[in-house]
Structure formats: structure tokens, C-alpha cells
């Protein structure tokens, strides 16, 4: 189903349908994450990927055209690059340990300590929250700062543009050809 959705997104020229299909893809991804027992990530995917970003993309569509322009060149070279990159990724995946294997490298470093002593040290039963907010507090602070920076960037870019536009609208409305 996800492959079908991705193919449809690539084939369609109507951007409204593409946005809706993108939302569908996010929901399918969230389902996969639930199956993998990553409920926190699934929740984020469903709310951000399927919810907020769909609304934002629809808002952008309202500002622009809703039909994708025809490509001016043949898509052979990009297709080749994508295939080679995908092939390399699959080849690299073959070297990964089995899914859920208990004694792979990443599960022997700090994970046992977090799992065994996390509850007694932090008193928080949800180990995801404990790692996110306590053990990896620096990382989460960085992520929050990234989000903050994104917000400030959007404010800086769009706010000034809008103020200029409204100012021009008031002054030069009649003078525009």
C-alpha cells in the first residue's frame, strides 16, 4: 500500500491529490511504527506528518498553483541517481544485524543500563520519556532550539514580506497596471 501511494504521488500532476496522498502515506507509516512498538514515534508521525504538514501544504497550495508544471527535461538521470542510491542503501542494510537481535552492538552499550536502572533512577515508567528528557536532555534541548530557530526563520522571512506587501497595497493600489 505504501509503495502504491508513493508511485501515485510520483505519477500525479494534481498537487491537491498529492498532498492528500502524502497524508495517507504518513498514516500508513504511523501504522508501521505502531506495529514496530514505537508508539511515541507513531504518534508524532500521525500528528505532524498527517495533520499539521497537510494543513500547511494545503495553505501553500492556496497561495500557488495546484497543477504541477511539466518537466522540461527527461527524468532518466535523476531516476538513475535514485536507483543507485537506493541500491547502495539496500546493500548497506544487508550488513545490519538482525531486527530485534539482543546482542547487537547498539544494544550492549548504554541500553541495558537505561533499561535496568531507568525506572529506579528517574521514577518514570515510560523509558522513552526518561531517555528523551533526562539521559539525553542535551539532545532534546538541541532539538527544541532547532524548532525555535525554524520558527524564528519563518517569522523573519514571511513577516517582513507581508508587511511590505500590505504597505504597497495601501499606497500603490491605483498605480498598478
Amino acid at each position: 500500500m505504501m509503495v502504491a501511494t508513493a508511485l501515485a504521488i510520483a505519477r500525479l500532476r494534481n498537487l491537491f491529490a498529492v498532498v492528500v496522498l502524502g497524508s495517507l502515506y504518513s498514516f500508513l507509516m504511523a501504522t508501521v511504527l505502531v506495529v514496530l512498538d514505537a508508539v511515541d514515534v507513531a504518534m508524532t508521525e500521525a500528528s505532524v506528518g498527517a495533520g499539521i504538514s497537510t494543513v500547511l501544504l494545503l495553505g501553500t497550495l492556496y497561495l500557488t498553483k495546484s497543477e504541477e508544471a511539466q518537466p522540461t527535461h527527461r527524468p532518466l538521470l535523476p531516476l538513475l541517481v535514485a536507483l543507485v542510491t537506493g541500491g547502495l542503501l539496500v546493500y548497506g542494510m544487508l550488513g545490519l544485524p538482525e531486527f530485534g537481535e539482543a546482542d547487537s552492538v547498539i544494544h550492549r552499550h548504554v541500553v541495558p543500563r537505561y533499561l535496568e536502572q531507568g525506572v529506579t533512577e528517574t521514577g518514570v515508567p515510560n523509558i522513552v520519556t526518561a531517555v528523551l528528557a533526562s539521559y539525553r536532555g542535551y539532545d532534546t534541548l538541541g532539538e527544541t532550539t532547532v524548532i525555535f530557530t525554524a520558527g524564528v526563520g519563518v517569522i523573519l522571512l514571511l513577516r517582513r514580506w507581508r508587511r511590505d506587501a500590505t504597505g504597497k497595497d495601501d499606497d500603490a493600489e491605483g498605480g498598478r497596471p
Partner: protein, 144 residues
């Protein structure tokens, strides 16, 4: 969309539950799935829903733009402030054990405050982006 009675009634029914669910996700994040990020997104989604149904000006009266701007910065300040608080109390940066006499309850306080900070920043940024995008007029090509 103001004239759609069904949409308005459904929105009025749903939005309180969405907000309560966001608070649940926020404060139950210690025990179940969820946390600050998800709660912030859900709060923002509730306000965006409100703005879609009742119009952007109404939503901006409810949640004014200056408040959203303040939220963007306030969340990061709360988060970093927890870290500095740990420093002042003699621990390391973002060390929650010193926040209370009991290390475990100190962890609780620290995680709680940090999640609140994340929630405030995330919902502020999401709302700000939506406000700025939705507040713009149509582009040049539609004026021709």
C-alpha cells in the same frame, strides 16, 4: 466556512476534547506514550482546526500573535532555565537530581518542566507558521 452549521457544531464539540487529550498526552507522558512534542502539536492542531472553521481573525483574537511569538521563545527559555537552575544549585547543566531533596522527585520535576518547555515551543512554532502562511494573500500569478 462560517455558514456550515454542521462543521461549526462538530468543531465546538470536538475542540475541548482535543485540548483535554493534548493535556493528557502532556502530563501522562511519564507513564504512557506521548510527551511535550506530541502535546504541543495537538494543541496547535486544535487552534488550527478552530481557525479553519471560524476564520483566521477569530482565531487570532483567541490566541493573539504576540502570545504565539512569546511562546516560541518561552519554551526554549524554560528548558534552558531548568539547566541553569541545576547549575545554580550546584549540579551540572541539565542535572535534575539537585532540583529536589529526593533525587527521584528531582528527576520528576526536571522532566516535567522540560516537557512543558518543549510543548510550549512546539505549539508556538506550529501556530506561528500556520498564521504566517494563512495570513498571506494569493501570489502574483493569480492576480493576472
Amino acid at each position: 466556512m462560517r455558514s456550515q452549521v454542521v462543521l461549526r457544531v462538530v468543531a465546538k464539540l470536538l475542540i475541548p476534547f482535543i485540548l483535554v487529550f493534548a493535556l493528557y498526552v502532556q502530563f501522562h507522558g511519564d507513564y504512557g506514550p506521548g510527551g511535550g512534542f506530541q502535546a504541543g502539536v495537538i494543541i496547535a492542531a486544535a487552534v488550527i482546526f478552530y481557525a479553519l472553521i471560524f476564520g483566521l481573525p477569530t482565531a487570532k483574537r483567541l490566541v493573539p500573535e504576540w502570545l504565539v511569538e512569546t511562546m516560541v521563545a518561552l519554551g526554549v527559555l524554560i528548558y534552558a532555565g531548568v539547566g541553569v537552575e541545576g547549575l545554580l544549585l550546584g549540579g551540572n547543566f541539565l542535572d535534575y537530581f539537585v532540583l529536589s531533596h529526593n533525587p527521584v522527585s528531582g528527576q520528576h520535576i526536571g522532566i516535567f518542566l522540560v516537557e512543558v518547555g518543549v510543548c510550549i515551543t512546539v505549539s508556538g512554532v506550529m501556530l506561528m507558521i500556520f498564521y504566517l502562511f494563512a495570513g498571506r494573500k494569493r501570489g502574483w500569478h493569480s492576480e493576472r
